[in-house]
Amino acid sequence: MLVDVHAHFYHARTPRADWRERNVSRLTAGARIGISVHVASILGSWGLTSPIYFPSPRDATAGNDALLALQREHADTIRGYVCVNPNYTAHARAEIVRGLDAGMIGIKLAASRRADDRLLDTIAELARERRVPVLQHIWQHRRRDWAGQEASDAAELCTLARRHPDVVFILAHIGGGGDWLHSLRAVHDVPNVYIDLSGSGVDGGMLEDCIASVGVNRLLWGTDLTMDTGWAKLRYLELLLAKDELALVRWKNAARIFPPGAFPSD
């Protein structure tokens, strides 16, 4: 079993004319890699009618609806995160309840509001009540603001995680840009923060440092926008880890933090 905890899909109301091809490509490549389940999110309209990282409530809902449709269409292989913009707190809470009730299995926070902001407490509280993890988009060691997003880094996520020790937070794409070593240092002693290994980065030494910093029990395999780099990291992990340790990263850690029954053989 192999669970990709960081996947994305597209839909018709996005700027991409090739959205169907991209979705098919993910599923085709996933079959070749051996991915059992893609746990995915759709970030609103992907910029068509509101910014990717600041989706309007209407776009967040439309994206979640599109993902729910994909989840229904591919019932064995696709699971969804409910993507919300915490600035619209009431909508975000209602949307999370709606999405989880419809079968989604986690919450996706992109970069609409800094992770340590008190506004996120209400989202975290709902995650605790519903026992679902929160995947938080992270810029590894953000030294300044970047256009188009209110990105958070690991230290800010850890502040939120310490306020909510009963909620599992997934630090997104350790290989997705920025100084991953800074992130690993920050999350080392925060047990409810897990590391998602996705991202285009395949730096030599990164996986060894991930294992040394948080241990295999808090690592989750994923791909994000580059499945080739995800597969490369998986192949390298097969050399670094014993079989039972590898199983933790491939799927057992995911099965532990997502709701019971979230995955087919779970």
Binding site: R22, R26, G177, M227, D228, Y236
Partner: protein
């Protein structure tokens, strides 16, 4: 089994972060791990020295057998032409010059002179767009990425120069390729290490739009996991002859051997 040649590898420490596996022995083990027969290697620390050619002597001594030396040339230093001549004598498959790491104008007079000399010597000139993702670089690592305009200018500057550009992404490659004449574009080869696979399928797209013959297998190891470039190919439905061309055949046309 088709041989697999990695045209983009390094030996020696990286100044900006700890990187494992930089010794010749460890690199050779990595080659075994991913079934790479031969690797073109550059002395990595030398890229950051005032005179990068000081690393070349060690490189010639060390890079034997499966490791082929790709020495660095600094066309802003006196007697740089001798470095190029030494490379030819040593049988180096290419020389490299990363102008922004050396503090040179990427398409300035020194680079034009180097391109002309490489053209005359029939020695491929290798340049990297970057070595690391710009978002993660050390705060003091301020050399910019190689501009696509510089590659266009250099390939136009000499009718015989052949260039190998590593660590380029799709948009960079497209900008240079379609911003060049067919004859110019035929003298540029691209390594695949920085090109995205599925679901964006940048590599598949480029192979279709630009042509299989323009691409060679490179990894950027040990800064990057070599498994990544192998996985990119494994995720394509390429006929065996096309895969073989990328993994080794196109190198023959690049080097003119």
């Amino acid at each position: 089994m088709t041989p697999r040649i990695d045209v983009n590898a390094f030996l020696g420490a990286y100044p900006w972060r700890k990187v494992p596996g930089t010794s010749p022995e460890m690199l050779t083990r990595a080659l075994d791990r991913v079934a790479i027969d031969t690797a073109w290697v550059t002395h990595l620390p030398g890229l950051f020295w005032r005179d990068p050619t000081e690393g070349n002597a060690w490189l010639y001594e060390t890079a034997r057998g499966r490791l082929k030396p790709v020495p660095t040339v600094h066309p802003g230093l006196a007697r740089w032409e001798e470095v190029l001549a030494d490379a030819s004598k040593a049988g180096a498959p290419a020389v490299r010059c990363d102008p922004l790491y050396l503090g040179l104008e990427p398409a300035g007079a020194e680079m034009h002179a180097l391109a002309a000399a490489c053209g005359a010597a029939r020695m491929p000139l290798m340049l990297a767009v970057r070595l690391e993702d710009g978002r993660q670089r050390h705060p003091n690592d301020r050399a910019g990425d190689l501009p696509a305009a510089a590659v266009r200018a250099l390939i136009r500057s000499d009718a015989n120069v052949r260039m190998l550009v590593t660590h380029a992404d799709r948009s960079f490659i497209e900008e240079v390729h379609f911003g060049s004449t067919p004859d110019e574009a035929r003298r540029i080869w691209w390594d695949i290490c920085w090109i995205w696979g599925p679901p964006e399928d940048h590599l598949a797209t480029l192979l279709e739009t630009i042509g299989v013959e323009r691409f060679v297998f490179g990894t950027g190891q040990p800064l990057r996991l070599p498994e990544s470039s192998v996985a990119k190919l494994d995720l394509l439905d390429l006929p065996q002859e096309q895969r073989a061309a990328i993994e080794s055949g196109n190198v023959t046309t690049l080097t003119g051997s």
